[in-house]
């Protein structure tokens, strides 16, 4: 530990720390511009200048990158310090007169105007190089650097002349102390929805609020470290040292007696319906994006905002997006009507917007659902029965100017209408989860025509599958809402419990058997069996069936050239008798 004095205060700090860190420890504020705790300090802006005295020698140093020494005496506000700082700030003011942090600093130091020549009154860059160092040492991309020298010296920003090395991480803009670096979409708009992403906002995050276990994960697709090998800023700020970028996915083998599949759903991809303009119009958003927008812990703190940050004056909610539509999914997604009504209610509660709800049939079938619909009818949501044909921004009247126009055949009025709104929410339907078909193959279960998993019997065995011991819970079997899912999943649990409780499991008694006297030992069956249930007994010179492995397909039976292989309950003689039976009239 090192002992030093700052403005008369005694402070003790570990060796290797800087004067700036020591000052922070005893709550003395030293102004900085180009300092950021995760980037190596460089002393470029020189506003952190302090006067140090050690062993009788006094000097002016930059606090951000000068290490502490035993017995050091630091003055942060001496006349000499202030004079030097004023000079530096005046030079920065000339260089970057539009930089707000410089203006604030000047004001604090009592500087009204700079005595140096101002080249560009719009300039914000103070040439501190923090962005360059961040891009090089943090991001590892080295996409920006200083070019030219002296007064022509400047930073080459990544979007000005796009560099191939730039990964678009926007770290430069994040680190820039004066806001000199900005990023915009290709139309030059600052798009709030895109900016906020209305989804995961950082590469390291807790996946969902209800995550179990409640720990963050690293999104390797988004993480800078996995792109460039650098960054790891997260490890620098985590004082528990809990972050490990070297962890790998593991494959665990777990032996179980029963399996409940609860692989859920994925929302319908609204981009598949080009007429609704999702992805093109920033104010056409999906239900899940609206959920994120309206969430009190979401990016807008629950405020309902348009892409430009203002509050919508009219919102349209379109039901059955991707559902009840032969072009996409014929089935009803069951949950969209009710969540749409919830949205309508939330919009009415949080804004003064007009809400238009476009539906085909209002499917409020559950407990309290109809009552909720009834309440919405009284709240003033405008319900329009009809399927929306398209959404356009081509105004035909002044009232439509700057709006999204929803075109719909109002089946109750019997006329085509154009409804101008500011925001459109697409009530996207439910589809089986992404790896649904692969799961079906792995677990040897069937899918129904709607591509969801097929239950054994819709009424008698709604949570069982044709593979004994494998049960279905939730939306992987069919779309359903939370109350129905919780109840039905309980049913799957009950089935699994009952089987686990029994402990044993009866195999179908349709296994194959080989007649020792007839078997010629050709071993054709051994190669045919997909379950390696047949082995060749060298001593006896015949094939032998392992009853526990045989699943009873009967392929070996059909192939046996000497008729030695039989399938119990599906013997040749039995099937012959069936065939004969058919033709007894």
């Amino acid at each position: 530990m090192v002992n030093l004095t700052i403005d008369g205060k005694k402070v003790q700090i570990e060796e290797g720390k800087t004067i700036l860190q020591a000052a922070a420890k005893c709550e003395i504020k030293i102004p900085t511009l180009c300092y950021h705790p995760v980037v190596e300090a460089y002393g470029a802006c020189r506003v952190c200048m302090v006067e140090v005295t050690v062993r009788g020698k006094t000097d002016l140093v930059t606090a951000c990158n000068t290490k502490v020494q035993e017995g050091l005496d630091v003055q942060t506000g001496s006349e000499r310090v202030l004079k030097a700082r004023r000079l530096n700030v005046e030079m920065l003011m000339a260089r970057a007169p539009a930089a707000e942090p410089v203006q604030e600093l000047a004001k604090a130091l009592g500087i009204e105007k700079t005595r140096f020549e101002i080249k560009d009154p719009q300039e914000k860059c103070i040439l501190c190089g923090l962005c360059v160092r961040a891009c090089e040492t943090i991001v590892g991309a080295s996409a920006i650097s200083f070019i030219e020298r002296g007064t022509e010296r400047k930073v080459m920003p990544p979007f000005g002349e796009p560099s191939e090395a730039c990964i678009g991480c926007t770290a430069c803009a994040y680190f820039c102390p004066t806001g000199a670096i900005t990023y915009e979409d290709k139309y030059g708009r600052k798009v709030i929805h895109t900016e906020l992403h209305l989804g995961p906002t950082t590469a390291i995050r807790v996946p969902i609020r209800q995550a179990v276990p409640m720990v963050p994960l690293i999104d390797t697709e988004a993480c800078i470290h996995f792109k460039t090998g650098e960054c790891k800023v997260c490890t620098k700020v985590c004082d528990r040292e809990a972050i490990n970028h070297d962890m790998q996915d593991e494959t665990l083998e777990v032996e179980v007696g029963t399996i409940i599949l609860a692989s859920g759903f994925k929302p319908f991809d609204a981009k598949r319906i080009p007429a609704y303009g999702y992805g093109h119009f920033p104010n056409v958003i999906t239900a899940l994006e609206f959920e994120r927008l309206v969430n009190a812990s979401g990016p807008t703190g629950g405020k309902i905002k348009l892409a430009d940050g203002t509050e919508p004056k009219a919102v349209g909610i379109i039901h059955c997006v991707g559902s009840r539509d032969e072009n996409y999914n014929e089935y009803c997604s069951r949950v969209c009507c009710m969540y749409s009504l919830k949205f309508a209610h939330l919009i009415k509660e949080k804004t003064s917007a007009d809400v238009y709800d476009f539906y085909i049939d209002m499917r409020c079938f559950g407990k309290g659902y109809e009552e909720f619909y009834h309440r919405l009818l009284h709240e003033g949501t405008k319900f329009i029965r009809g399927r929306v044909s398209d959404i356009t921004d081509m105004a035909m009247t002044q009232r439509e100017e700057g709006k999204l126009i929803i075109r719909v055949e109002d089946t109750l009025l019997g006329t085509v209408r154009r409804i101008p709104v500011d925001m459109v929410i697409l009530a996207t339907g439910l589809e089986p989860s992404i790896d649904h078909n692969q799961l079906a193959k792995i677990f040897n279960i069937s899918c129904s025509q709607d591509t969801f998993f097929l239950e054994r019997h819709p009424k008698l065995a709604p949570v069982s599958t044709f593979s004994d011991g494998i049960y279905l819970a939730g939306a992987c079997q069919a779309p359903r809402d939370i109350p129905d899912t919780v109840a039905q999943a309980g049913g799957a649990a009950a089935e699994a419990l009952a089987l686990a409780d029994k402990g044993t499991f009866a195999l179908e008694p349709v296994t194959a058997e080989i007649d020792e006297d007839l078997c010629a030992g050709c071993q054709l069956c051994v190669n045919l069996c997909p379950f390696t249930a047949i082995t060749y007994d060298k001593e006896k010179g015949i094939s032998v069936v392992n009853d526990a492995l045989c699943k009873g397909c009967g392929t070996c039976v059909a192939a046996c050239p000497s008729g030695a292989s039989h399938q119990k309950h599906f013997r040749d003689s039995q099937i012959f008798a069936e065939i004969e039976g058919i033709f007894v009239v």
């Binding site: 193959k441 044709f466 379950f531 009967g554 392929t555 039976v557 059909a558 399938q567 599906f570």
Partner: protein
């Protein structure tokens, strides 16, 4: 033989996991289809011994259908591929017996495809109806009586 039209007698060997369930679905969904196909359930289409097919024709079938899971979907991994190989061999053999290849059919019908099963039955029935009754040269006694 109602209304003088020939009603073919067809035998269908259906695998337990896909096609039989598909047929069941067609039934529970009350889909109406030609009742000509009489169903024999086997655990896997791979179980269908070529003898079964010959036996069916011998006993008086005008057509035989084998139906199993779609390729890759076999409950027993690959039984349906075995069925496919046998089907191709059998087609050649039937030709030698003078049985038209249109009287023997292999179809993949999944558990979800009640509608497909309906179509297969209707189509196959119509196809065999056009061919008329099958007269086997050596054992045609039964068949001669079946003229319309």
């Amino acid at each position: 033989m109602s209304n003088g039209t020939f009603e073919p007698r067809l035998v269908g060997f259906l695998c337990n996991w896909c096609s039989y369930t598909g047929a069941d679905l067609a039934g529970t969904a009350r889909m109406i289809y030609a009742p000509n196909v009489r169903i024999i359930r086997v655990m896997c289409s791979g179980r269908v011994d070529p003898q079964f097919v010959l036996k069916a024709f011998k006993e008086g079938a005008d057509g035989v259908l084998i139906s199993g899971c779609h390729p890759g979907d076999c409950h027993y991994k690959e039984g349906n591929y075995k069925a496919l190989r046998r089907y191709k061999l059998l087609l050649k053999m039937l030709d030698q017996f003078g049985i038209e290849k249109e009287r023997f059919r292999l179809e993949w019908v999944s558990a979800a495809e009640g509608v497909k099963f309906q179509h297969v039955c209707n189509e196959f029935t119509e196809q065999v109806r056009k061919l008329g009754p099958l007269y086997l040269s050596k054992n045609g006694g039964k068949h001669e009586q079946r003229e319309a």
